[in-house]
């Protein structure tokens, strides 16, 4: 099956710093989403981005489908950005959304 690898596994930053999270996948996909899991466990949908670039406030994401990777950018980090960030993908014809292992981001005040 498709493999989804996220890097780095852990990231610790000071408030105000910028960060880039990466997601590599092993097959062509027609669905890619970035999620933020907050400390209470809820998965918040950040971006639906099978290709191209999107921005939402301090967050932006880029997916280069032909090269099988996606990047999530967080600028001017705030403590509320802490949590685990997941990339999840789905291949054509499949029902399953396959998750990476996540990047645990810790923003210190």
């Amino acid at each position: 099956g498709i493999q989804v690898e996220q890097s780095p596994p852990d990231l610790i930053l000071q408030e105000g710093a910028n960060s880039t999270l990466r997601c590599n996948f092993s097959d062509s996909v027609n669905n890619l989403q970035w999620f933020h899991q907050n400390p209470w466990g809820q998965l918040i949908n950040l971006f639906y981005i099978p290709s191209g670039t999107k921005q939402n406030g301090r967050l932006s994401a880029t997916t280069v489908a032909t090269e099988r990777y996606s990047l999530l950018y967080i600028s001017s980090s705030q403590t509320t950005d802490s949590g685990v960030y997941f990339c999840a993908v789905r291949i054509q014809g499949a029902q399953k959304l396959v998750f990476g292992q996540g990047t645990r981001l810790t923003i210190n005040p």
Binding site: N30, N31, G41, R90, K96
Partner: protein, 112 residues
Amino acid sequence: SQTIHQWPATLVQPVGSPLSLECTVEGTSNPNLYWYRQAAGRGLQLLFYSVGIGQISSEVPQNLSASRPQDRQFILSSKKLLLSDSGFYLCAWSVSAGYGYTFGSGTRLTVV
């Protein structure tokens, strides 16, 4: 707008007891519905999905079952819980498999 509800939020159950977790979606019809489990660590694993009433597909053989008695209702069940069933259970929906998924707030199950 569409919303997804999942309950209970937390549950502590003894080994061997039954389980019923419920998920409902509002504001849409004929959604695709999914049950995921997040065990210790980070990975999320798909357990079941459903593309219509009474249609259930299982991804991983285990001690659990799922049912979809109504269009927007998805239930996860077990007749006898095992310690290994502990984890964080998340329900999700999508318009169809080609669209984005939205997750419920999850149920944290501890089997003791």
